[in-house]
């Protein structure tokens, strides 16, 4: 267990990215304003829609980091890593 319990930098980075993706969109005071408008959209609206994209990116990066790390841990602990190959494609 001790080997598994050690937290790797990859987990830290993924964790920080995920926490930021939760906290920043909740800081209403940073975006509750009308100007500047973009294609007629007030800042309040386009900024939040833009966060949909940001969040998809941060979660994707976290996914890559965590998957790589998890695969390594599983290989290290002698578990079958084959399941990661079986995933998806449906």
């Amino acid at each position: 267990m001790s080997k598994l319990a050690a937290v790797r930098p990859a987990y830290w980075i993924a964790g920080i990215l995920l926490v930021l993706s939760v906290i920043v969109p909740l800081l209403v005071s940073t975006y509750a304003k009308d100007e500047p408008r973009l294609w007629g959209f007030p800042f309040f609206y386009w900024y939040q829609l833009l966060w949909v994209l940001f969040s998809a990116i941060t979660v994707s990066i976290s996914y890559q980091l965590v998957m790589r790390e998890e695969r390594r841990r599983r290989a290290a602990s002698g578990l079958d890593a084959g399941s990661s190959k079986k995933e998806g494609n449906r």
Binding site: V28, G40, Y63
Partner: protein, 550 residues
């Protein structure tokens, strides 16, 4: 019946019929075992990969909530009560990324099908498991009710119904008979299959609405300006502005607590858990967390349809003569689109309400069967008996939802979902915290849950809608002893956590016996193919192996 639009009605019926046929066909689709086992019927045999899961999750997360309730709230009172759904659906994915894989692993290694199974195993407490099950079933009902309200709005716009009670409810009853029939006969696969059709229709409708309507209505700039003007106008009943175009400082706390509370609550609902557990391995849900935000974009654009309805000056007076903001979007489509396309849009909304209603009722039924029927009523039930009880329970849950539709204030239908959220959020400490630590004491959790449920329900009851004078008129209240307006669910959650932590410290100090944890730390990291990770049919000693997970 008055002024029925036959073109729209014909198209809606045709699409409904097609969908129903597909639902029945789905019973034979990718069958991995017999449908009379609970696992087959309720979890689709647990073999869904990333792609189907994406549709399935989209199918139950984006519902009449998205098409009717959120735009209606935007139409009626603007950003605080409506657009919070955008940050809500943005932050929900990082949140589930963090804990859902652990739930998948522990469930698959221990054969859990419901969140209450997990809580029962983790805390060795049947009482806590029962509390989680009852909360899940109760909280799902208003959420299904919201779907009913959505369908009702569509039918009403097409001119079905009238001012007598029977005429008004008849189309609704027909829709539910269809839903009940195919849910009953094919379980989770029917909604999974239909989710494809539904999403296809929805993309079409959204695409058309977003590209076509702004031009018709004079451009985004003028749509936003019309909304701004409406929100700043004084409401004659309350003497305050109608709503918030952009939240003012006093609205910040309401906005972010609604978003955070809804996000934390979403994956406590039994149907979301069902969808996650039906995935093939522990990382499907994480990968989905990265691709699901596509739906959030849709949600945001759909929310803005509420502002378009303001600009287009739609008439939201219902057939009973009362204003009903839920009609804003269907009436907008009716007014701005040709009849045939409005028909397609209405079918998309109706199917989009049916699919989640089916998934939700199946999940609530699973909870009832496993955690109430089997644990408390009939311990030696066979898989076939369980599946049968589950099917009956799913019907009962739908009737429960009907009670909410008929009994509650429907002028703000979003509120139905937020009420469910107040309740379901109280299972968060037991489920999510339990995935990471076993520190909480079972009695502390149970007490925290009970107090928060009671406090939350009473507080929500005491919110009276100023226009209709009905109770349960909103989901915002001040934090006790302050003037800060927040989502009741999140305050109750805070109270729940404080009580649970304080009592755990006390009970641990007094060395009160705690339940036995039957899970192992390694269970939380297990993946498909690992030793001990079983499919449920094996666990239930179900006839024959079911290797076909391809």
């Amino acid at each position: 019946m008055n002024d029925v639009d036959w073109v729209q009605l014909t198209i809606v019926i045709a699409i409904f019929f097609g969908v129903t046929v597909m639902g029945f066909m789905a019973a034979r689709w990718r069958r991995t075992g017999e449908l009379d086992s609970l696992d087959e019927w309720g979890l689709g045999g647990r073999g869904f990969g990333t792609f189907i899961t994406w549709f399935l999750l989209g199918g139950d997360l984006y519902t009449a909530y998205t098409f009717i309730a959120v735009p209606a709230a935007m139409y009626a009172t603007g950003a605080i009560s409506g657009f919070f759904a955008v940050p809500y659906t943005i932050i929900v994915y990082p949140i589930i990324f963090i804990f859902m894989s652990r739930l998948w692993s522990v469930s698959h290694r221990n054969g859990y099908v419901t969140p209450a199974d997990f809580v029962g195993g983790r805390y060795g407490s049947r009482g806590l498991s029962l509390a989680v099950a009852v909360t899940g079933i109760l909280a799902t009902m208003p959420y299904i009710a919201l779907q009913l309200v959505g369908m009702q709005a569509v039918f009403e716009t097409m001119g079905l119904g009238g001012d007598n009670v029977l005429a008004k409810d008849l189309p609704l009853l027909i829709a539910f008979a269809v839903l009940a029939a195919y849910t009953y006969s094919s379980g989770l696969r029917a909604p999974a299959m239909i989710a494809f059709v539904k999403d296809g229709l929805i993309y079409l409708v959204i695409g058309a609405a977003i590209l076509y309507l702004p031009g018709q209505l004079g451009g985004w700039e003028s749509i936003f300006d019309a909304a701004k003007t409406k929100m700043e106008t004084q409401n004659p009943t309350t003497g305050k502005p109608t709503g918030a175009f952009i939240p003012g400082e006093s609205g910040y706390s309401a906005y972010w607590t609604l978003a955070l509370g809804s996000a934390l609550a979403l994956f406590m609902y039994p149907h979301s858990v069902t969808a996650v557990l039906s995935t093939k391995n522990r990382n499907v849900v994480r990968r989905n967390a990265a691709i699901l935000p596509a739906y959030s974009l849709l949600l945001g654009l759909l929310a803005l349809l509420g502002f378009m309805a303001i600009k287009a000056n739609v008439n939201v007076k219902g057939l009973d003569g009362l204003a009903n903001p839920q009609l804003a979007i269907p009436r907008l489509f009716d007014q701005e689109f040709p009849a045939w396309f409005a028909g397609i849009a209405f079918a998309a909304i109706a199917v989009g309400a049916l699919v989640p209603a089916a998934i939700m009722s199946i999940a609530a039924a699973n909870l009832f069967t496993r955690n109430i029927y089997r644990d408390f009523l009939k311990k030696d039930a066979t898989p076939a008996q369980e599946a049968k009880v589950s099917k009956l329970a799913s019907l009962l849950v739908k009737f429960g939802a009907l009670v909410f539709v008929l009994g509650m204030d429907k002028t703000v239908s979003l509120n139905l979902q937020l009420l469910g959220g107040i309740w379901i959020l109280q299972t968060f400490p037991a489920i999510v915290v339990g995935l990471f630590t076993r520190w909480f004491h079972k009695w502390a959790l149970l007490t925290g849950w009970a107090v928060a449920m009671i406090w939350g329900t009473i507080t929500a009851y005491n919110v009276v809608n100023p226009a209709t004078k009905k109770h349960f008129g909103g989901s915002l209240a001040n934090i006790p002893f302050t003037d800060t307006m927040v989502y009741i669910g999140l305050t109750a959650f805070g109270i729940n956590l404080i009580i649970t932590i304080a009592l755990t410290l006390l009970l641990r100090a007094l060395r009160v016996a705690d339940g036995k944890d039957t899970t192992h730390p390694s269970d939380y990291l297990a993946d498909a193919g690992d030793p001990g990770v079983k499919d449920l049919p094996e666990l239930l000693d179900e006839g024959g192996p079911s290797p076909a997970k391809a």
